[in-house]
């Protein structure tokens, strides 16, 4: 079962969510609700760690875009990291990289967003 786990809630640090398994119509609404709740609660730097994500559907892609849009409207920073090559290819094919910053690793993302 895919999971989305908010790992850190230290206001000075970016929030990280691990997205594991599949991000599709079954799991995307859960992730969307969780991240929107974080943004509504004041999170302004958010990283989705997709290192263990192996499948993403259209619903999953739309969710990531919706979350990036929500963070942009809130004036914060949103990034994803650790994309598997086939998922990075889908990101690139949809032109998402023009709107969402993609980092190779979690540490790269955290370092960039901590600045």
């Amino acid at each position: 079962m895919p999971s989305a786990v908010a790992e850190s809630w230290i206001p000075s640090e970016p929030d990280v969510m691990d997205i594991e398994g599949r991000l599709d119509s079954g799991t995307a609404p859960i992730v969307e609700e969780d991240v929107l709740l974080c943004i509504q609660s004041g999170a302004r730097r958010m990283v989705l760690d997709c290192g263990s994500l192996f499948y993403i559907s259209g619903a999953g892609l739309r969710t990531i875009l919706t979350l990036a849009r929500a963070m942009q409207k809130a004036g914060g920073s949103f990034a994803v990291c650790g994309l598997q090559p086939h998922i990075q290819e889908m990101f690139a094919g949809c032109g998402f990289e023009a709107f969402i910053t993609v980092y190779r690793s979690r540490s790269d993302a955290l370092a960039a967003l901590a600045r």
């Binding site: 119509s25 619903a59 849009r69 809130a74 094919g93 949809c94």
Partner: protein
């Protein structure tokens, strides 16, 4: 946090965008192009209603519960009949639904009529040829759809999903050359391309239309 959801479906808004209000008729689009875009709009609507999902290869019915929309439900029912273990590619459904493109538009136009947004006007030209017009009664919805789409292509922020889909359809069937001036179109071309590629179904619609146009061009060349 998300933007207010437009009350009209993608197909209804697409039809309003494709309607030249000054003439009460649709902008001149090839029938095959219009049919394919209408089919794509219905698939997009079903994804937004969380009834289907898709990846690069296939479309999956994830919930066959009727939406209550008379345009979408017969399509959903038809898609749900197929074997669950043999999901079909997006292009299969695009071509299949495009065959019913006129029927889909007809039902969506009736919905717009029922909502008091436009009316149907049948006339005879030279007492023989039928001509149908759709004068817009309530311009609010049409204006709102156009303004939203224009807003998306003139700004550089992340667009709402609904608007991405509309831009993808409008771009795939060449509507922007009717909606925008040449100067505006030239200035917005890069952004339109960028937004239009953001939806997988929109990409499939554009590809299908390009292939249909190429096939027609090739067939015409061999005559």
């Amino acid at each position: 946090m998300t933007a207010p959801h437009p009350s009209l479906t993608i197909l209804e808004e697409f039809l309003l965008l494709a309607l030249d209000d000054s003439a009460g008729q649709f902008y001149p689009l090839a029938r095959s192009t219009f049919d394919c875009a209408s089919a794509g709009a219905v698939l997009m609507d079903l994804t937004l209603q969380k009834r289907i999902d898709n990846d690069l290869k296939h479309v999956f019915v994830i919930d066959a519960t009727p939406t209550g929309n008379p345009v979408l439900d017969p399509v959903l029912q038809m898609m749900a009949i197929g074997p669950v273990l043999a999901p079909k590619p997006i292009t299969h459904w695009l071509h299949h639904l495009a065959d019913e493109g006129e029927g889909l538009r007809e039902r969506a136009l009736r919905q717009l009529e029922a909502q008091g947004i436009l009316r149907r006007e049948d006339k005879k030209i030279l007492w023989v040829f039928g001509a149908r017009r759709y004068p817009v009664l309530d311009q609010k919805e049409q204006r709102e759809a156009k303004l939203r789409v224009l807003g998306v292509i003139l700004r550089d922020d992340i667009p709402a999903i609904h608007d991405i889909m509309l831009v993808a359809l409008a771009h795939a069937c060449g509507l922007f050359c009717h909606i925008l001036s040449d100067h505006e179109l030239a200035n917005a071309a890069t952004r339109i391309e960028q937004v239009a590629q953001m939806d997988l179904i929109g990409q499939a619609v554009a590809k299908a239309i390009t292939e249909i146009e190429a096939a027609i061009a090739m067939a015409s060349g061999f005559r």
